[in-house]
């Protein structure tokens, strides 16, 4: 029905989609599975007309077509639900539906039972917004519904409701494209699963009867993560079986660690647009990596900013048993706490600045970069040259505008900067997200070097595999609370996964 042929899309040097082909038949649920950065979202946006491919062809019922805008796609019966909702927070549910072209005074059945219609979008829960978003996408009675990671912010009960809804839509003959990086969800609801890796189509599995045969998951995992050409297993320890977990090896034997950083009973008040923290306590030892794992938006960002000294909160934060003044980021920094933000382009870097200027941000007032209020360009340049060669940053010119750097190189700049600040603790928020395998290896190598020198790391990640692979202890963050950190060991994976989506 809808067919994409050899779609290619590149952003600068990265190829998001490399000659991808996908055909969608009526009345089926197609899963598109892949890691973060595999090119799933780009493919979906191209199918929805939101992005134009560099080359390739779209076929609608066998005829060649092109979607110049989402409107073209809607006319052709293709509707999309984006990962980041396209909802207007100041609108009511009713107004939002009317904007989408819903003409009746009554809300559609999907929403009618949940809402009166006068609720503001900004006030309802994320799960409810997802429902509104899907109802919105269904207004135009599409024949193909595209869903981009629809379950990432849903509770397990909400996910199940969504699956029931999708199966119902399938019964009515609608096709659904379901993009996810969650293997089991894909297997639960999809009739066919396409696996993408690094922008390439690496395999497709189809099963006509309900329930996928055993061993499918292992096969899909192999497809998803593959192996690098040069033999380094960048993503190989994506541990999904107990055997592999045992095989996980940190090179050094476990050291006796003293407590380095300690958070006690930290709480914040409710604030629109952010998750309140509820009596969070945790501690990080010297040379230890502690991971806080959770699905997006459970308060990781809020907790990270409190731990880095940026946000005010009730409770106490200790570094080496000395209480730190919460909310005074400068004091935290001087105490040797560094914060590697996940918002690399937003708060991590100053867009108009050069590489060297970004490298000294936060330390611009310190020796040797300045003296009595005057910058010392020579020292700044020397430092930049040093870091560029140590981290193999491209381009090598310290005066290159930061916006000309690729995402991986920007992350190297940020990590170089933060590690120069971190003498005791590094708080890292999704440090390897969106990085290629080489950079990821480099980033983790540097972090490991830091822990070898008795530094502690508080890692926030949405990727449970990363947490299990890299951390010594793992806790789960769910709706603003953190579970007690437990040492990584056999059999904790399923508990963690359960807590991530359902709390405790």
């Amino acid at each position: 029905m809808l067919e994409a042929k050899c779609i290619t899309k590149t952003y600068g040097r990265t190829t998001a989609n490399d000659c991808l082909t996908l055909s969608i038949r009526p009345g089926e649920i197609v899963g598109v599975l892949g890691e973060n950065g595999a090119g799933k979202s780009t493919l979906l946006a191209i199918l929805a007309g939101a992005i134009q491919p560099d080359s390739g062809q779209l076929l609608l019922n066998g005829k060649s077509t092109a979607f110049g805008s989402p409107r073209d796609a809607l006319r052709a019966g293709v509707s999309i639900v984006f990962q980041h909702f396209a909802l207007i927070h100041t609108f009511t549910v009713c107004e939002q539906m009317h904007l989408a072209g819903w003409r009746s005074r009554e809300l559609p059945d999907l929403l009618g039972s949940r809402f009166s219609g006068n609720e503001l979008i900004g006030d309802i829960s994320l799960g409810s917004r997802q429902m509104v978003e899907i109802a919105r996408a269904l207004v135009s009675r599409p024949r193909v519904l595209l869903l981009d990671e629809p379950t990432s912010i849903l509770t397990s009960a909400e996910t199940q409701q969504l699956f029931v809804l999708l199966r119902g839509l399938k019964e009515q003959g609608m096709s659904v494209v379901f993009v996810t990086h969650k293997l089991h969800e894909a297997m639960e609801v999809c009739d066919r699963i396409v696996v993408l890796r690094k922008g390439k189509d690496v395999g497709e599995l189809e099963w006509s009867r309900p329930g996928w045969p055993s061993g499918t998951d292992a096969g899909l995992l192999r497809l998803m993560f593959g192996r690098d050409e040069d033999g380094t297993d960048d993503a190989a320890p994506q541990l999904d079986t107990p055997e592999l977990q045992v095989a996980r090896s940190r090179d050094l034997p476990k050291r006796e660690t003293g407590s380095l950083f300690c958070v006690q009973e930290v709480s914040t008040r409710d604030h629109p647009g952010s998750q309140a923290l509820h009596r969070v306590s945790l501690d990080v030892g010297e040379g230890e990596i502690c991971a806080i794992v959770g699905v997006d938006g459970q308060g990781q960002r809020e907790l990270a900013t409190v731990c880095a000294g940026y946000a005010p909160a009730d409770g106490t934060v200790y570094l080496q048993w000395r209480a730190l003044p919460i909310g005074d980021a400068g004091a935290f920094r001087r105490a040797g706490i560094a914060y590697l933000t996940d918002d690399r382009m937003g708060e991590g870097t100053v867009p108009g600045f050069t590489l060297e200027e970004n490298l000294i941000l936060k330390r611009q007032r310190e020796w040797p970069f300045s003296r009595r209020g005057r910058l010392r360009p020579g020292r700044v340049r020397d430092r930049a040259r040093e870091e560029v060669s140590r981290w193999r940053i491209e381009p090598q010119n310290p005066q290159a505008p930061i916006r000309t750097l690729s995402g991986g190189n920007i992350q190297k700049v940020l990590l170089a900067r933060e590690l120069s600040i971190a003498s005791s603790l590094l708080i890292a928020n999704n440090p390897s997200q969106g990085l290629d395998s080489r950079t990821r290896t480099q980033v983790w190598g540097a972090i490991k070097e830091f822990t070898d020198g008795q530094g502690g790391v508080l890692l926030f990640t949405t990727d449970i595999n990363e947490a299990l692979e890299r951390a010594d202890r793992v806790g789960v963050m769910y709706e603003g609370a953190v579970s007690p950190l437990t040492p990584v060991g056999d059999g904790i994976r399923s508990d963690l996964e359960h807590m991530m989506v359902a709390g405790w």
Partner: protein
């Protein structure tokens, strides 16, 4: 002169002075609701004031003059829209350019057309029968004795309120100022919605200018608006982008603006500098009192381009 007559005169002047302010401000609010920050309002008002005045002087028709003012506004709004929305230029800079150019152009054309002479429009607009206005004591002339355009203007303001609040078009305009992505996703063109808003905003500003020169003053001179366009921009913000609140604010600031001429009419001598300063001081005071926590349309002043805006690419 007795106190009642003083109130009567002041009230009439205040309500009439509020008209250009309300029209321009509602126009600006419609634009800002769609995410367009048009600092060219002052310039568009001047253009409308000049063409309106010139046409009505030539044609001896006030209605034609007002129409010409509104059409000038449409053309200016179109210009702003094409450059800001279609081409995607910087809105603040563009607005300043339109104000500077509009001021220069009208002054230039005024000198070219009239030289050093200062023509006046004959008489004010036709008044409704006097007995109706005189039936009500004190407030009668202010409410019932105004030129017909006065009443039309408030109908237009009410229409804008209804349009923004109750129609699909209004919904789209508000949506495009909050989240262009959301509008694009549901298949509505961001560009045409914003263009439409820019044209409405321009038309209202042009009409506001014409009403100033034709209805309120009866003459034109270079920079006759004296910052009314900028006050209108402030009022759009103070009235929280809602026409009826703006109308209420416009009456308050119209009174401040008209106070000088009102006091002159009744022979009260106050330093003209002080009365001239009043509306501007009033705006700052009002901003100080209510400026905090004001939530502007989220996409105000932002250029929207699909390839950048629609999808966040990791």
């Amino acid at each position: 002169m007795n106190i009642e007559a003083v109130i009567t005169v002041l009230l009439s002047v205040a309500l009439l002075s509020a008209v250009p302010l309300a029209l321009a401000s509602v126009g600006e609010a419609v634009g800002e609701r769609a995410g367009l920050l048009n600092l060219g309002t002052e310039g568009i008002m001047l253009l409308g004031a000049f063409t309106g005045f010139w046409v009505s002087l030539e044609s001896r028709s006030l209605a034609l003059g007002l129409l010409a003012g509104a059409l000038t506004g449409v053309v200016s709004g179109l210009l702003f829209g094409v450059i800001a929305v279609v081409v995607g230029a910087d809105q603040v800079l563009l607005g300043l350019g339109i104000t500077l150019g509009g001021s220069g152009l009208t002054s230039f054309l005024f000198r070219e057309t009239f030289g050093a002479s200062q023509p006046l429009l004959p008489g004010s607009m036709a008044r409704p029968p006097g007995d109706l206005a005189d039936a009500l004591p004190i407030v009668g002339p202010a409410l019932l004795g105004q030129p017909w355009f006065f009443y039309l203007a408030w109908v237009i303001v009410a229409g804008a309120e209804l349009m923004l609040r109750g129609t699909t078009l209004g919904l789209r305009i508000r949506a495009v100022g909050e989240s262009p992505i959301a509008v694009d996703t549901v298949g509505i063109s961001v560009v045409s919605t914003r263009m439409f808003a820019a044209i409405i905003a321009g038309a209202l500003s042009g009409l506001a200018g014409a009403s100033l020169s034709i209805v309120e003053l009866g003459f034109f001179q270079p920079n006759v608006t004296l910052g009314t366009g900028f006050i209108a921009i402030a009022l759009a913000m103070l009235g929280r982008w809602s026409p009826w609140r703006i109308a209420a604010m416009a009456i308050v600031f119209g009174s401040l603006r008209g106070l000088g001429s009102g006091l002159q009419l009744i022979d009260v001598s106050v330093q003209s500098e002080f009365t001239r300063m009043l509306p501007y001081v009033g705006v700052v005071a009002a901003l100080l009192l209510s400026g905090r926590g004001m939530r502007a349309p989220s996409a105000l002043g932002q250029t929207w381009v699909r390839r950048r805006g629609a999808v966040r690419v990791r």
